[in-house]
């Protein structure tokens, strides 16, 4: 046993005293996870969870002509423009999300706005049609509504900005429609009653000139009676911490390389003749193999543990508050690190045992690591792959990353994840060991 531990310790010592290797194993994934995490989160700005898109260059063209209702002039187009480009104190309101979200410019020519989107000056153009106010207003002669849609002209070069501008515009117009529908439904109902009930009809006809109904609440978002509480799969209020998701995925991605390269060191040692020397010593082959694979396992565990530690520091620095981003149950986090490392080492052992040369291991191992990384969310949110995301389940990385994400949210139901990882690890470890034992004819 002490020989196995000695060999494993030597592997660990060689790895963690090599500064260049540390650059690849620790600094690179740490830098990458920080970049991806920052790109996909608003945490640097203070804890938001949305995509941190701000100052979207937007052109607004108001072709709307004001209309009259009950003696008052309405210009819904201008109201929409004012929401995007407020004046006075409102223009300095730091809490105005719309103001932060967009950098709106008022244009008078729709074609110029479209051309601005075509050439990249604007990410989107909002073009309010000429009959917009009229389409939202009822008259005694026309009690129906037929909302003239606002045009949102977008470019595929900025799909996220485009979808945000479209959603924002849709929300605002929807509020206007709510107001318009309220007015239309109420007036329509009263007119119908007036036609059916002559007494009321006469009084209504006489008094309506001075009647000032308060429809204003229907035009404000505060009147919306239904709210949506967004939650994650784990019943948490949707808090997407990209540093956890991408950090764990990057750690696992680079750990697969470590596992494969650690196992590959056997083939390099055989080529260099040091393995033959080791076998010539009073040490059994099984002891050597177990020592090597245990060393690989230790390398992986230490690498992921170090990465998690440093990622946590990055999380603290970026958010400005003390926290453990991996959740409270560090024992389970350690268990997943161990199980994930075991699975990775087992796969590394099988790949190395099957390959003939260290170069073959590099080629096949690189492809396997890339597949595992792509389908475990190391480079983008896995769910953006739609149906293809199911391929992730064939990778140990997916099960480990999923477990880390759940643990970070305070969920501990990760038995399946642990079982899958341990089974992959145990099976591949034994197969790798068996194949090596048979092939170790030096």
């Amino acid at each position: 046993m002490s020989k196995i531990l000695n060999i494993a310790w030597k592997e660990l010592y060689i790895t963690y005293t090599d500064r260049s290797l540390l650059l690849v194993m620790i600094v690179t994934p740490l830098a990458l996870a920080t970049i991806i995490g920052s790109a996909f989160s608003g945490m640097v700005g203070g804890g938001g969870n949305d995509i941190p898109v701000q100052n979207i260059p937007t052109a607004i063209v108001n072709l709307d002509a004001p209309t009259e209702f009950n003696g008052q002039t309405f210009s819904m187009g201008q109201t929409l423009v004012d929401l995007f480009t407020p004046s006075g104190d409102a223009a300095q309101d730091a809490d105005n999300v719309l103001l932060a979200l967009t950098d709106a410019a008022i244009l008078s020519d729709a074609e110029a706005a479209r051309a601005g989107v075509d050439d990249g000056t604007y990410s989107a153009a909002i073009i309010i049609p000429a009959n917009f106010s009229q389409s939202l207003t009822v008259t005694q002669d026309n009690l129906s509504l037929n909302v003239a849609p606002v045009e949102v002209y977008t470019s595929r070069a900025a799909p996220v900005s485009a979808s945000i501008i479209k959603a924002v515009t849709e929300n605002i117009v929807s509020q206007f429609v709510t107001g318009g529908v309220t007015v239309a439904a109420t007036i329509g109902e009263l007119v119908e009653r007036a036609q059916e009930d002559v007494g009321f009809g006469l009084q209504f006809a006489v008094g309506s000139a001075n009647w000032q109904p308060d429809f204003a609440p229907a035009f404000t978002p505060d009147s919306q009676p239904i709210t949506i509480s967004q939650q994650t799969v784990s019943r948490q209020v949707a808090t997407f911490n990209p540093l956890v998701a991408f950090g764990a995925a990057q750690a696992l991605f680079f750990m697969i390389f470590t596992a494969i390269q650690s196992a590959n060191s056997l083939l390099y040692e055989r080529r260099d003749g040091t393995l033959q020397r080791l076998i010539a010593s009073p040490t059994s082959r099984l002891t050597i193999l177990l020592g090597k694979l245990l060393g690989a396992l230790a390398n992986c565990v230490v690498q992921v543990a170090l990465l998690f530690f440093f990622l946590n520091i990055v999380g603290i620095v970026l958010s400005g508050r003390m926290q453990i981003i991996w959740g409270d149950n560090l024992l389970l986090v350690a268990a997943v690190i161990f199980a994930g490392s075991l699975a990775a080492c087992g796969i590394g052992a099988v790949v190395t045992a099957i390959a003939r040369t260290p170069e073959q291991v590099n080629i096949v191992g690189g492809l396997i690591a890339m597949f595992f990384g792509l389908f475990s969310g190391a480079f983008f949110d896995l769910r953006s792959l739609g149906d293809l995301a199911i391929l992730g389940r064939a990778t140990p990385n997916y099960w480990a990353v999923d477990a880390f994400t759940q643990l970070s949210l305070g969920q501990t139901a990760i038995t399946t994840n642990l079982l899958v990882l341990l089974v992959i690890g145990a099976v591949t470890f034994v197969i790798g060991l068996g194949l090596f034992e048979r092939r170790l004819n030096v």
């Binding site: 690849v24 045009e151 949506i228």
Partner: protein
């Protein structure tokens, strides 16, 4: 020039002797261009909203007419939504497999992604709304957290539609009761409320859409409308793999210096400039080959169109590759060993690429990251490709980006040449 070419040719011969070169030049960049383009929206834009049977589980704890009205609005928002278990049929569209639907099963189905989203409508939803109280619907999803969700958007639209009729009922009734000559008892008031809401629902149902999205039909998107994600990933992955192809020259310099082959070469009748020129030319050509392979794949397979100015495209490719080649030379003068060179170049490639927008469009990152990203030559190259592919850019429009890349290349070359030592 003949000597430079001879050195370059020899280096290329050595490079192409390596077994994994074609995997790095073709297989990996091509796969990455496809998968990352798909993730960046090519797949989603083309298929998600039209995908058959988007399963959404619904726990309707209320079961009232109002909750049914909301669910009907949701079905109307996207005909491909299958609201389970209500919409299950003999063909088991809900994929229930005969199991009884309950909260625990819904939880499992959401976790294993049988259902993409779960809606929880609380008990008392209808009566609370009728009593003038506000209510909350719980939406749990399995969707991409980094992109706008088409299911959530549909839920929001449906909530707004139902909410609008309720707002009309509440605000409209209050306003109507102030109408001159209208005196109603409690029962008549209730009837008025109901009539206004019903009228509002009819009016809302008659509206088609509030916003009409028109997507710009500029170059690069005309031929294949779903190629937006690929139009981003193809130049992005190509630029990253140009770095993977060229940066190893720094490692090769270390290796040759250690093995003494560099020293041997300078004893030959060639100048230091010819030696450097030959070595760098080999890597430059490899970088251009890398670009050509990925761009050809993008054009022929992914349907990416590169704009209307091939000269501007070619110049961007050349100047970016030149810039990376010059950066490699500069790096080679700062590094001391093969291992160090391998590690540093890997770190640089994997940070400069995402920072510069090779993995995702820079429009989604915060302003400070966008500014920081332009430290990377990749950002300037991507600016140029974006202009050409999406905005019908010409040589005149991309000249500033090419100019910056050329400037970076000049600085790195000057630094590298001044510091480069054979020993």
């Amino acid at each position: 020039m003949r000597k430079i070419w001879a050195i370059a040719r020899n280096d290329l011969r050595i490079i192409f002797r390596e077994k994994d070169i074609w995997i790095n030049l073709i297989v990996i960049p091509v796969i990455l261009s496809f998968v990352i383009g798909y993730a960046n929206g090519a797949g989603r834009v083309a298929s998600a909203p039209e995908a058959p049977d988007v399963i959404i589980d619904v726990i309707d704890g209320d079961g009232s007419a109002t909750s049914q009205e909301f669910l009907a609005a949701l079905r109307a928002a996207n005909p491909n939504f299958v609201l389970c278990p209500a919409d299950n049929d003999d063909g088991d569209r809900c994929e229930l497999g005969g199991a009884a639907f309950d909260a625990a099963l819904a939880e499992t189905r959401l976790r294993d992604q049988t259902a993409l989203a779960l809606l929880d409508i609380p008990a008392g939803f209808g009566t609370d709304l009728a009593a003038g109280q506000n209510v909350e619907i719980i939406y749990r999803s399995n969707e991409n957290a980094t992109a706008p969700s088409f299911i959530l958007q549909a839920v929001q639209v449906s909530v707004q539609r139902l909410g609008a009729s309720i707002v009309a009922e509440r605000v409209g009734t209050a306003a109507a009761l102030t109408a001159p000559g209208l005196t109603l008892d409690e029962g008549e008031q209730a009837a008025l409320k109901s009539d206004i809401r019903s009228r509002a629902s009819d009016l809302l149902a008659a509206q088609s859409s509030y916003v009409n999205e028109v997507v710009s039909e500029t170059a690069g998107t005309q031929t294949n409308p779903g190629s937006g994600g690929f139009s981003q990933s193809t130049p992005g992955m190509a630029s990253m793999y140009v770095m993977f192809a060229v940066f190893p020259a720094a490692v090769a310099f270390m290796t040759e210096r250690q093995q003494g082959t560099l020293q041997r070469l300078v004893t030959m009748p060639i100048t230091r400039w010819q030696l450097l020129g030959g070595k760098l030319l080999a890597r430059f050509l490899l970088g251009m080959l890398q670009y050509s392979i990925v761009f050809a794949f993008g054009y022929l397979v992914l349907g990416v169109r590169f704009g209307n100015d091939p000269l501007a495209l070619l110049l961007t490719m050349i100047v970016f590759t030149l810039c990376i080649t010059a950066l490699t030379l500069a790096l080679a003068t700062l590094l001391r060993s093969e291992a160090q060179a391998s590690a540093v170049t890997l770190l640089l490639t994997l940070t400069l690429a995402p920072l510069g927008g090779a993995w995702w469009p820079l429009e989604i990152v915060p302003d400070w990251m966008r500014t920081l990203g332009h430290v990377s030559p990749v950002a300037w190259a991507m600016d140029s490709y974006t202009s050409l592919i999406f905005y019908n850019g010409s040589l005149a429009t991309v000249l500033p980006y090419i100019g910056v890349l050329a400037g970076m290349a000049a600085v790195c070359f000057a630094f590298g040449v001044a510091r480069f030592r054979i020993e």
